[in-house]
Symmetry: C2
Subunit: 235 residues, 2 copies
């Protein structure tokens, strides 16, 4: 937690916050802060700054706030990620959030097991928690937009073309031989397939929607590794 993210309900006045639970525990045990110390803080959806510790005990952390900095700009990036195994979903969501993507779409694909869509990990509260963990990691305050696209075809045919909005769309797909386009125009859309890859018909649909194939080379990377590598390449 490189930034303590404050929720509106944490504020007890315009420049005071009181925290309990996970964040209280983290500040005590990991930051090992004491009264008088300054912490990096930010208000969800708002400004960042510092919070001076006024009280820190078993019950609560109280902070005097000076919020005078803008959060870092979001990347003009939509990540379209085939829904991952529940076991890795939290990590992927937090990584995408920490990288600064403006929008994340979790998409169905042929090789996404149906059962994944029933996972409790997909509940809004869980997804939001891991988006927030990504913001706390990266020192950001602005949640990315997160959408679940349970059906491949209507999303790709009806919505994806307008998301591209004259920018650059890429679909990671091994063996296509596609190099990153020389001219990269924002906004960016990156589509990353499931563990078994996109099937050919899906690749064709994505290309028809306006994405360009991108071959990352012979190595097959985990989703969270691939998306960080792609973001590192583009930005």
């Amino acid at each position: 937690m490189n930034l303590v993210l404050l929720l509106p309900e944490d504020l007890i006045s315009s420049d005071r916050a009181r925290l309990t639970g996970r964040r209280l525990q983290h500040v005590r045990e990991v930051h090992r802060a004491g009264v008088g110390d300054d912490l990096t803080v930010g208000l969800l959806g708002g400004k960042m700054g510092r919070g001076r510790v006024l009280r820190l005990d078993d019950e609560a952390l109280e902070l005097a706030l000076v919020l005078d900095q803008e959060p870092p700009p979001k990347l003009p990036l939509t990540l379209v990620i085939a829904l991952t195994r529940p076991k890795v979903l939290n990590r992927v969501v937090a990584a995408a959030s920490s990288l600064g993507a403006a929008r994340i779409v979790l998409l169905n694909a042929w090789k996404v097991e149906k059962a994944y869509w029933s996972s409790p990990k997909l509940k809004e509260a869980n997804l939001r928690e891991h988006l927030i963990l990504g913001l706390e990691q990266a020192k950001d305050t602005v949640l990315p937009e997160l959408r679940l696209a349970r059906f491949f075809r209507p999303f790709v045919e009806d919505e994806l073309p307008s998301l591209l909005r004259g920018g650059t769309g890429l679909v990671a797909h091994p063996g296509t031989g596609g190099a990153a386009p020389k001219v990269l125009v924002a906004p960016f859309t990156l589509a990353i397939g499931p563990e078994g890859g996109w099937i050919e018909a899906e690749v064709q649909s994505l290309l028809k929607a306006g994405l360009q194939p991108l071959d990352l080379g012979p190595r097959i990377l985990r989703v969270e590794t691939a998306l960080a590598a792609l973001v590192g390449r583009l930005f």
Copy 2:
């Protein structure tokens, strides 16, 4: 497991292998292969190719091998990573291996807790297992060199300069304002600090050894996210 990695002791003749344990279970339960199916296989340190399933039951997987492809080339890259918390070490090691780094150095730093060096995760067998998981993920057969540098100063002062060998060395450090150098000459050395960052004296030592500062921007990324983003940017 995108490639079934065979160890020398798995070979029962020059073109036959018999597997048990984790890999047998994975091929049965995840690949759901049957007799007659072809699997992508590779021999540790050697060639890759395919293995046709001759037998697959509770006891063993037997494969007829055709090993006729070279593994992908390693990246000319040394990753110098401040030793992470044990909890994330396995993941970082596997990610570094999957990305294709030729050499990984786990280095001490001021903000690395001493106890991390006593973790059972640092045992050779555990590190090797996670390097192998990275190879199986990425379809590679060649283990990177992995070194533990328990002492910062002798490594950085005496060994790091010769590792650089006329190539490009970068140290990721927020707030330096350093952009990636325009001219990138291989081999590459990337140094990634601990969760709390390098202390200033460490940055100075790394710069003196020949590394250049690289500012990745305002976002603080987890080690495995940062290293994938850096590799994506450089290669």
